[in-house]
């Protein structure tokens, strides 16, 4: 089977956006926690990278102590039915399942799950009612290869706002805007927030940057900024772009070939990074950034067609588009880094 076409009975109102953990500070994968305020219910959704799962698989876990039973169904759109489910203990269902992505090349259309459907068991005569779902494409692109825990902790404080009325996510996902000051744990110093990450700020930095306001109370923040953040240490010229928590040096200038003519451009412009987005961080701040991106990050150099997957602190060349598809690696996650920045990173076995 090559092509599956299905119309769906899913109510578009029930379909909520999926948050991309790669574009949240701390780089989400391996870890991201979402508060989800849906129409009639509240959740805490935890997304953790599961190293034993490929991006074609996902673990779904339901946690709830609410008296009304809850169920999560792994839904196959072609079959218009569930292929597996988890539920409250009162239903006698398990609370964890491993699901496989539906619609993979060479796979029968009725195998695997396209998305999940969250159901409540209302009092008779209504009974089991499907309420919430997630966009199938984003569901697998963003959460494939992860353990996703739905902590369903409230079923009485909804906001009556359904999926089609819920605003699309805005990125980068950060808890505080740039240059927010946060007290350190012992209240003896300050952090400055850049790209959602906290950098220890000394008095010279604070004075030079004019950051003289009061700091907010301590809260633990990621150590690495969200994807695409551009940083430069104070009084240093080197600019880095951050992807997957790792820093990649952006050249000061870059020569590009345009119709046979050599053009010299500022490095950030040559790589389509906005120079105005460069954030000045405290001295030594780049030391807390990674050298190899988080596991699961896809990177390529601008002038090199090869795509690499970060896997166990090594880069593995994804040798063909067929391998990309077979491994359920979404092209939309490929991050373009400056030329030459991948050469010195450790390389592992090719993905074939």
């Amino acid at each position: 089977v090559s092509i599956c076409v299905a119309t769906s009975t899913l109510d578009p109102r029930s379909i909520y956006p999926v948050i991309d953990p790669r574009r949240v500070a701390g780089s989400g994968v391996p870890f991201m926690t979402i508060g989800a305020a849906l129409a009639w219910d509240n959740f805490v959704i935890t997304v953790e990278r599961a190293h034993n799962l490929s991006s074609c698989s996902m673990q779904i876990i339901l946690e709830t102590t609410l008296s009304e039973p809850k169920e999560i169904q792994a839904w196959n759109l072609f079959d218009n039915n569930f292929v597996d489910r988890v539920g409250s203990s009162s239903l006698g269902l398990p609370n964890s399942m491993i699901i496989q992505k539906a619609g993979r090349s060479g796979q029968s259309c009725n195998v695997g799950a396209d998305t999940v459907i969250l159901c409540r068991y209302f009092a008779w005569p209504r009974g089991r009612t499907a309420l919430y779902s997630f966009s199938p494409q984003d569901f697998w692109d963003f959460w494939g290869g992860c353990a996703v825990t739905f902590n369903w902790f409230n079923d009485t404080q909804g906001n009556d706002i359904w999926g089609d009325q819920t605003p699309q996510p805005t990125y980068p996902g950060v808890r505080f805007p740039d240059f927010t000051l946060i007290s350190n744990e012992t209240n003896t110093g300050k952090f400055v927030v850049v790209g959602g990450a906290a950098f220890a700020a000394d008095s010279n930095y604070l004075a030079s940057m004019g950051l003289t306001g009061a700091a907010q109370a301590f809260t633990r923040l990621p150590s690495t900024p969200a994807d695409g953040t551009l940083v430069r240490e104070i009084f240093q010229g080197d600019i880095y772009v951050v992807f997957g928590g790792a820093k990649f040096l952006v050249p000061q200038v870059q020569t590009i070939d345009f119709l046979g003519i050599q053009i010299i451009l500022p490095g950030p412009i040559a790589y389509n990074y906005n120079p105005n987005d460069v954030r000045v961080i405290p001295q030594g701040g780049t030391a807390q950034l990674r050298t190899v991106p988080f596991n699961g990050t896809l990177v390529k150099e601008q002038m090199d067609p090869r795509v690499f997957l970060a896997d166990l602190n090594q880069l593995r060349w994804v040798t063909s588009p067929t391998v990309m598809d077979a491994q359920c690696l979404p092209w939309r996650h490929v991050r373009v880094v400056p030329d030459g920045t991948l050469a010195n990173l450790p390389h592992g076995l090719d993905l074939t």
Binding site: I3, G35, D160
Partner: protein, 124 residues
């Protein structure tokens, strides 16, 4: 994010949705939401020639259903069906079309997929 009514001590990286009740500016859900969703997967999903195919198929199905509902043809119970012949499998759920209409629509879908992805045509 601090006011999300969850257990204390769980730092949240993102809030999906809003805690506020819908105000006057929020459009209420339409009573009769008729937008049809079409999903395409398998080999077609990764074929660059298939860009826009799901949207085109959705428009095709939506137009067909609209014409069907405005005609005098009596709708029959929906019969989910799939094309067992060839590489294109089609399942039509929730359209409330008559069996002959479903057959016609499947042929139209198959035709559009073959036109857009000629290399994917079934080996007959």
């Amino acid at each position: 994010m601090a006011d999300f009514p969850t257990r204390k001590g769980i730092p949240l990286d993102y809030i999906l949705g809003s805690l506020s009740q819908p105000g006057e500016g929020v459009t209420p859900p339409p009573a009769d939401f008729s937008q049809i969703q079409v999903f395409v997967s398998g080999d077609a999903a990764s074929d660059t020639r298939a860009i826009g195919l799901p949207e085109d198929l959705r428009l095709l199905v939506q137009g067909f259903v609209h014409r069907s509902r405005t005609s005098d043809r009596k709708a029959a119970p929906d019969i989910p069906a799939s094309d067992e012949n060839g590489d294109i499998r089609i399942a039509l759920h929730g359209l409330h079309l008559a069996p002959e209409e479903l057959r016609e629509l499947r042929q139209m879908i198959r035709g559009m997929v073959r036109k857009r992805l000629p290399g994917k045509e079934a080996t007959k």
